[in-house]
Amino acid sequence: MSTQIAKTLDLKGLSCPLPIVKTAQGIKELQSGELIEALATDPGSVADFNAWCKSTGNELVESGEDGGVYRFVIRKK
């Protein structure tokens, strides 16, 4: 399985629901098993990315925060 990030989305500054909506749109272009990285500043995105992965079946591989930027790495189902 790939450990390379296939695509990075800069969602910094965006508010709900755009981080999730743009991630859902962005992940469409990926192949199954590929990784997408999302960078967001919306504190609500921590819970939202967890819930979105749970409901869509995509795997949240990594989730962290650094200097107010939340980073999510998701493997496409």
Partner: protein, 175 residues
């Protein structure tokens, strides 16, 4: 555990196969502060892979009218209503603190500063993401609205029965 800690704990669940896969929003309110959540939830539903339908009825239907369409309706009463309450996504009023349009203008300015997408932007995203927009046939007749008065992307008009059928195995929101 403090309240603050509790809100930070996000349970990581396995993928829930039994999660609802359908979302039906009955959009009956036409104020900016109702249309916004209608559009936020519709786009989010589509982003979550849910089969999403928005049924626009009563004042909720007015957001589907083209913004450059000033007067709608066939008879004087319908025309008078459109004149007093201009249809279209860019002409929404606030449910409270409207202040002859100052409230909505301020709200849109705040939203823009916070990078919150406008209801109009969210509506086009919803169309792109395959959200079905269903106008209520009865409201169209009542207000004298025609298909050509409405924006692109609006589906076939339908009635209450179609919507309740659609809602049978769906999460249903009445906004």
């Amino acid at each position: 555990m403090s309240v603050e800690e509790a809100t930070l704990v996000v349970p990581v669940h396995e993928h829930d196969e039994h999660a609802h896969k359908k979302l039906v929003i009955i959009a009956w309110g036409g104020e900016l502060d109702r249309v916004w959540p209608q559009m936020i939830l519709a786009t989010t539903g589509a982003a979550m892979g849910m089969d999403t339908t928005v049924f626009f009825t009563f004042w909720g239907l007015m957001v589907l009218v083209k913004d450059n369409k000033r007067i709608t309706g066939d008879n004087w009463m319908q025309k008078m209503m459109a004149m007093m309450d201009r249809p279209g996504m860019e002409h929404l009023k606030l449910g409270k603190m409207n202040f002859v349009g100052a409230g909505p203008a301020m709200m849109r300015k705040l939203a823009k500063d916070q990078s919150v997408a406008s209801p109009g932007e969210l509506l086009s995203m919803a169309v792109d993401m395959g959200v079905k927009l269903v106008p209520c046939q009865m409201t169209m007749d009542l207000l004298g609205l025609k298909r050509e008065d409405m924006i692109d992307g609006v589906g076939e008009p339908a009635g209450a029965t179609t919507m309740l059928m659609e809602a049978q195995d769906a999460i249903t929101l009445f906004i």
